[in-house]
């Protein structure tokens, strides 16, 4: 079902944890199914020097959190804001169709953390001008059967 990369990031997730006194924190989730993703950023001179996450969700949610943090670590905030869920999916060698939406959660969590950083620092990040923090980005589609 999941690619090897997904399973690797699920079993050995990178950057799990919290950052005390983080420069930006984003939390997104889906009230309905209860999945929650929280991302912490440390930003120095416009560069993301550290990032951590905590996720309550499926294997795909955990793996995409892990991959998303890897993809933005060491990047500038301008680069980080361009992270798309597709990029995360690709970096993980794909996700099963009904699990693609979990990667959206990861993208949104990164954006939420960047937005929080921008708010705290009173700056505007290009690409986040129109950003409205949304909690509910998670919907489920088609799926497999049941016994």
């Amino acid at each position: 079902m999941y690619s090897e990369k997904v399973m690797d990031h699920f079993m050995n997730p990178r950057n799990v944890g919290e950052i005390e006194k983080a420069d930006g924190v984003g939390e997104v989730g889906n009230a309905k199914c209860g999945d929650i993703m929280k991302i912490y950023l440390k930003v120095d001179d416009g560069i993301i020097t550290d990032v951590k996450f905590k996720t309550f969700g499926c294997g795909s949610a955990i793996a995409t959190s892990s991959m998303a943090t890897e993809l933005i670590k060491g990047k500038s905030i301008e680069e980080a804001v361009k992270l798309t869920n597709n990029a995360v999916v690709e970096a993980l060698d794909g996700l099963p169709k009904p699990k693609v939406h979990c990667s959206v959660l990861a993208e949104q969590a990164v954006k939420a953390a960047l937005y929080d950083y921008a708010q705290k620092n009173n700056i505007v990040i290009p690409g986040l001008e129109d950003y409205v923090p949304a909690k509910d980005v998670h919907d489920h589609h088609d799926g497999d059967g049941e016994e």
Binding site: F10, K32, D35, G57, G59, H140, D144, E147
Partner: protein, 387 residues
Amino acid sequence: MKKRIYLDYSATTPMKKEVLDEMMPYFNEKFGNASSIHSFGREAKEALDIARDRIAKAIGAASSEIFFTGGGSEADNWAIKGIAFANKNKGSHIITSKIEHHAVLHVCEYLEKNGFEVTYLDVDEYGMIDLEQLKEAITDKTILISIMFVNNEIGTIQPIKEIAEIAKEKGVYFHTDAVQALGNIPIDVKELGVDLMNFSSHKIYGPKGVGAIYIKKGVKIHPLIHGGAQERKRRAGTENIPGIVGFGKAAELAIENLDAHIAHIQKLRDKLIEGIKNNIDYVRLNGHPTKRHPGNVNFCFEFIEGESLLLSLDMVGIAGSSGSACTSGSLDPSHVLMAIGLTHEIAHGSLRLTIGDFTTEEDIDYVIENLITIVDRLRQMSPLYEK
């Protein structure tokens, strides 16, 4: 090879060797069509008759009241649509519960779109229906009550005999989905007084793709699958003789070994339940503490999500299942866990481990040990958990 521990017997079972042995001649030796009058056909017909007798005997029915189907779901569909359409002149109201299998619930929803009215009974925190609510729900237009015998997720056993009495008194047909009951608790249809009861072979160490339904003599029902005159003109289609033979054998074995089977799985079930309760915090046993499937263990682990739990268990070779929304294929977590009053968040962290004849004490020890580590690891990752 890597250790592999199967604890998903309520999803499906491996076939027993005796079952496969019994089936083997029917694949390419005695392969005839049971409707043919030549010797190949007669061999098939004989095997069919024996299997039917075995199923009948297993549940105390007459052989002429047993009809084979292509599985448990087909039988559920048949029971409900068949009764609904055959009796719509009498009324159009059906009563079922909120914790039925989807093969019952989705049929009821389909019927609602086609002129029928359906009452979905509540269940209490243990998954038990309320007989008073049932009585009150019955109207002049009620034609069918369908309440499952044993729930497939949380294992709760309903008071079937009492329901049958109520149904009988009101002159309403009573169907019970006994897919999880057969081979796990004693069944006698006459003593229970039900009108329709269905089964699935692959839940009792028989082959997949075969089921059966008990239809009490005199019950008015339409076929679901029309065509040839098989199954006394009630279920068309060339009979799956090897499958039916295997199902018959599996049912026979299940009844012969019933006491030992129950004793074995119940002991391991209780060991697993205790092991989890004693070693892991923030857990909740779902289902009824005593009126429960002897092999069913269903827990919620707070702060973590079921699919992550399943995947982690799978990595150490343990096979279980979950009612989490993330594994359900629909927007919501298990309707059963919702019906017993769990919040979305709690239901999310559910794990079902179901025990069978091939489960050992060591398996249970291994599971408990690994579960402790895995739950802890996932909780460490969870934004909801504060230690």
